[in-house]
């Protein structure tokens, strides 16, 4: 298996466009996933009885094979980017929902009590105390969801989308390995860079978790 470097050189524009399209699909899905799972997680965290239902539901969605999800969505949104994004969002939900609930659960009761006793109202407590303290656990979920979404985008090739995944079909059909190898490498790189960025974001957002020397 050898790489045809000239093919790569000839297709840099295409490769850039596919990479960006791939990334856009994955990131949109993660953002949408967060938008949906955040309120659901708050509900699951606060209302014990809905918690099992919501987590169970997201688990069931997760077990549907990815191709089936896209096929099921076809009558609704057709062969579009929307279908790709909705499909991916469904997969991010399970991780994001579970981690956000766990993150909120991990906030010490004493800290929430203190916020209440100081006269902080519930919504402000959620935004200024609970979510920041849940952030490390939530971010762990965001990292998994992001890497997962990046790897799953390729499946959407079946509905004519799929970003870098199109390189695989292209390579298989022509029995020409270069696009396949390039596709795999770019997907991996994308996942690594996205993850590194998220780690940095978390580091910046959670200064209190950094190790510092003790004592005054």
């Amino acid at each position: 298996m050898s790489v045809d470097w000239s093919w790569i050189a000839d297709h840099t524009d295409d490769l850039t466009a596919l990479t960006l399209s791939h990334l856009q699909a994955a990131l949109t899905a993660v953002l949408l996933g967060l938008l949906v799972s955040l309120p659901l997680a708050v509900v699951a965290h606060r209302v014990r009885r809905l918690r099992g239902l919501l987590l169970g539901l997201s688990n069931i969605l997760f077990t549907i094979p990815s191709i089936a999800v896209f096929v099921l969505l076809l009558p609704v949104s057709g062969l579009t980017r929307t279908t790709t994004v909705i499909g991916l969002t469904i997969y991010t939900l399970v991780v994001l929902l579970r981690n956000t609930v766990e993150g909120l659960d991990s906030v010490p009761a004493r800290t929430k009590e203190a916020a209440k006793a100081m006269g902080t109202r519930p919504l402000r407590t959620l935004i200024t105390v609970e979510l920041p303290l849940a952030l490390p656990v939530i971010m762990a979920g965001v990292r998994i969801a992001t890497v997962m979404a990046i790897s799953l985008v390729s499946v959407a090739t079946y509905i004519g989308d799929g970003g870098l995944g199109q390189l695989f079909t292209d390579g298989f059909q022509r029995n020409f390995p270069t696009p396949v190898i390039v596709g795999v490498v770019l997907t991996l790189l994308l996942a690594l860079v996205a993850d590194a960025l998220l780690v940095t974001v978390q580091y910046v957002l959670t200064p209190w978790t950094r190790r510092q020397k003790r004592g005054v």
């Binding site: 004493r110 203190a114 006793a117 100081m118 006269g119 902080t120 303290l133 200064p207 020397k213």
Partner: protein, 355 residues
């Protein structure tokens, strides 16, 4: 600590609290807490101290009865606003781990809309008040020791200068040395601030040191007795209270009385035990003229307790206690007998007052 102008800052009137699970935590509680005084709630575990405290700032609502703060029924006030007007300190501080010490202290001022700059300035001022360096303000709570965190907890409760301070076993999780230090600082703060303080503790000694009044609770949420420490120690209402105060309550009573009333005479001349003074007439040691040895001594001031005087008179071979003024200069000596007599009188006077 002088209780204020006799105004009743916090009033419990026939208050009951029954939790949904059927536990009665507080039963028929009628209790007034005077403005500017420290009321300490004591009693064994589970007797309803915390519940009583938390009904004041509506962390718990009573099942029946009324609670008034500064004359206003708490149930008629917005809970969040009420809480901002009442300082609250809990065990292990309950600080926000994700906020710097300064931001922790500034919590209530920011909720009250003071603005960042003013809230920060207030936080800096309070750091000093509670004896922390300005540098500590930039740290996160986990970077401080337990005692330091507790100081931050007190600073945070004082931030908006509330008239009422609720403290639930605030010094329960620190070692005895730091605990005494924090108690002393609270007493010093209270001399300047004259807050109405409700203080929960398990520790009778802490209650006696800090309280203007001590309320003793029994399991099931009954208030058994509420009285000034001296009165409580001299005349416990029943066997339960006496038991709770412990067998040494007579000694505890002596810890409340100062040495000031005990007679003193000139240091002995020509006796076996001679007091050695330095050039500024500060006592150094007891000198034994028979075999030329020296024994250490602890000079006492008028503000020291009768208990420490008794202790020193037992420790001193001469049976004499060296008395000094605020600068440490010898004013005279008191005998073991004089101290003992005074101790006996204190006890019978306290009993008589209470009777």
């Amino acid at each position: 600590m002088q209780p204020g102008k006799g105004l009743l800052m916090i009033q419990f009137d026939a208050v009951h609290k029954r939790f949904p699970n059927g536990t009665t935590a507080v039963q028929d509680l009628t209790l007034d807490m005077p403005e500017g005084g420290v009321t300490v709630l004591v009693g064994s575990s589970g007797c309803g101290k915390t519940t009583t405290l938390r009904m004041i700032n509506r962390m718990v609502d009573p099942t029946s009865g009324t609670i008034r703060v500064a004359g206003r029924d708490v149930l008629e006030q917005d809970a969040a606003e009420l809480r901002r007007s009442i300082g609250y300190v809990i065990q292990q501080s309950g600080l926000f781990p994700h906020r710097t010490v300064s931001d922790n202290i500034a919590t209530v001022p920011l909720l009250l809309g003071w603005g960042r700059r003013k809230a920060r300035a207030r936080a800096a001022e309070l750091l000093e008040t509670v004896g922390l360096s300005a540098d500590a303000g930039k740290r996160y709570p986990h970077q401080l020791s337990g005692g330091q965190q507790q100081r931050v907890g007190v600073a945070r409760a004082l931030a908006a200068d509330p008239p009422v301070l609720l403290m639930d076993e605030p010094f329960g999780a620190v070692d005895p040395v730091v605990r005494t230090q924090l108690q002393n600082e609270l007493l010093r703060l209270q001399r300047d601030l004259s807050k109405t303080i409700v203080f929960v503790t398990h520790d009778v000694d802490e209650a006696v040191r800090l309280g203007d009044r001590i309320a003793v609770f029994r399991t099931g949420g009954h208030l058994v007795q509420c009285a000034a420490p001296a009165e409580l120690l001299a005349r416990p209402a029943d066997a339960f209270v006496a038991d709770f105060l412990g067998a040494e309550r007579g000694l505890k009573l002596l810890s409340l009385t100062t040495l000031a009333g005990v007679a003193q005479g000139p240091a002995p001349e020509g006796a076996r035990w001679q007091l050695t003074l330095d050039s500024a007439r500060k006592p150094l040691v007891w000198h034994d003229t028979e075999n030329d040895t020296a024994l250490p001594l602890r000079p006492l001031q008028d503000t020291d307790s009768l208990l420490s005087a008794l202790n020193e008179s037992i420790a001193a071979p001469s049976g004499l206690v060296a008395r000094v003024d605020a600068d440490g200069v010898l004013t005279g000596v008191s005998s073991r007998e004089d101290i003992h007599d005074r101790a006996g009188r204190v006890h019978s006077e306290a009993s008589a007052v209470a009777a």
